[in-house]
Symmetry: C2
Subunit: 322 residues, 2 copies
């Protein structure tokens, strides 16, 4: 068994079309193959304002699967550490023996979450969508934007963050690194007004977007809520939308935007139904579409397998050359 550090993984794995394809196929597997994906195991460390979530998924026929630990320790910034962290362990499906520990410190989770955002936009939003709206200014606010640019011809970014200094840093970074003009908005409503696609990336506990702001053709991906107390979309938004897609419906009902609106469950689609071609989220350019992402074990297994293959090939390469 091999231990790989974040630095080693970072050199090989990035948010790019091959990774997005891998995550798309993971969603397809969720509806076309037999997948074992137990409920998330949650370890709370209330004394230190922390939690560790454990996810796993096995896709029938695949020769390995991952168990992921992801941590959120909310006092960390006060000691100069990032809030989130984690690692993935890849196991051999035939023997249970560990193949690799990917000590990625949350990197692969960030990437597979962003890749899911790309899949959501690719299968829900209008094809011609140039205006990207981002709510939040953290790591996912950057990665989700990057993800959109890989599937849609984004030419302008509208961002809203509660902290103006963070919004200014975001604008500077995105303009420099992604070469896209960024407008800092003074409200969430302004972002929605200006954008074709909106991605919410916050840990909000109260709705940020309301039904009366929705306009024909809009797509919203809500990726912030992944716990019982979080919410980014007002229930009216879901009610008004022409389609609602979830990564996993039963998880969205517990941890995501479907919580508290049981009537809407029957209407909800799963992302795998879209990627497999079984269903369509959008039937016209006028439709309003919503996608709620809570994060799934199949994404973890998919990116862990993808990363391990790349790391192993790299190792084989180096050995051959030496």
């Amino acid at each position: 068994m091999q231990l790989y550090t974040r630095e080693e993984i970072e050199r090989l794995i990035r948010l790019d079309p091959p990774l997005i394809k891998v995550i798309e196929q993971a969603f397809t597997a969720l509806v076309t193959k037999k997948v074992t994906m137990p409920p998330i195991m949650r370890m709370d460390v209330p004394e230190h304002n922390g939690e560790v979530d454990i996810k796993s998924a096995y896709i029938e026929g695949e020769d390995s699967f991952a168990v992921k630990l992801s941590s959120g320790f909310f006092n960390n910034p006060s000691v100069g550490l990032p809030t989130s962290g984690g690692m993935m362990i890849l196991l051999d499906s035939r023997t249970g023996q560990p193949l690799a520990v990917l000590a990625d410190d949350g990197l692969l989770t960030d990437l597979r979450t962003a890749a899911a955002g790309a899949v959501a936009a690719a299968f829900c939003s209008r094809k011609v969508a140039g205006k990207a709206g981002i709510i939040g200014t953290g790591a996912q606010a950057r990665l989700q934007l990057k993800a959109l640019t890989l599937v849609r011809p984004i030419d302008h970014v509208y961002v809203y963050g509660r902290r103006k200094d963070q919004a200014a840093i975001y604008k500077k970074e995105v303009e420099n690194e992604q070469g896209l003009p960024v407008t800092i908005c003074s409200s969430v409503k302004q972002v929605v007004d200006e954008s074709d696609i909106v991605v919410t990336t916050t840990p909000s506990r109260e709705p940020l977007i309301y039904a009366e702001w929705l306009k024909p053709g809009l797509h919203i991906t809500a990726m912030g809520s992944d716990a019982e107390h979080k919410q980014e979309l007002d229930h009216g938004v879901l009610e008004k939308a022409d389609s609602i897609t979830c990564d996993v419906i039963h998880q969205s009902r517990r941890l995501g935007e479907l919580r508290g609106v049981p009537d809407l469950e029957n209407r909800a689609l799963e992302l795998g139904e879209l990627t497999s071609g079984r269903k369509q989220a959008r039937t016209s350019d006028e439709d309003i579409t919503i996608c709620d992402l809570t994060g799934t074990g199949v994404q973890d297994t998919a990116i862990a397998r993808f990363a391990w293959k790349a790391l192993k090939n790299k190792g084989d390469d180096l050995r051959e050359r030496s």
Copy 2:
């Protein structure tokens, strides 16, 4: 973060009185401290006759806690691999950051399970108990016997195994390595008849021991059942016993010997109540006592912390000397 192999761990950690003390204290913590111990997460890989169990526990006030993966892949022997395996990950309680990966391949699980057997015997069996009865001839049949010798003056061993060749190997090994005479019995009943303490270490799905065989003073530790379909003691055994102790009652009800006998739950004690001095399992040398062990996350956290401390000290030692 450091990765330690089984070989490194094996050199430092063995079944001995300090380890038994550590496991005893873990049980005490379960009833005297605030412990977060979520239900076991179970990943099934039916395609390959395998399963991975994930356990964790955080004891308030402790600076680290473990997440454990333990695997059972029952086709492994056909390819020359052991059925069980696993690893432990030790996390910092304040930051969630991984401190160490103990790639112990199930060694620490074996040891903490045996140590629990020692604790059970120390707090339930008669003080003067020289005859040890072992049902089963596998790894735990060896370790549980060793555990008994550390807490009771064992002078003779009675063993029963379904496979005679395995029983013969067991006898030879124990006589050579532990210097104790071993009698191979032709039935479970014979073992019970001859012994002061009986430990059942099998994956049996049907009762092995019946009430009518019980005699005054006997103690039985049932450590085999850890899943919904397993059982080693007939319900009558529990009914007849003067006391029933479990590592964790609600887990024994689901995965252990308390399954199917809800009436007995009210009478059951927890091992931590004994180790903390709050309750007593045995009030006379004539009592019949039962202890059911299903395996708990606090044992994993306790042994992972203990092993890591030893490994780190060893590393510091080596660095100082060089």
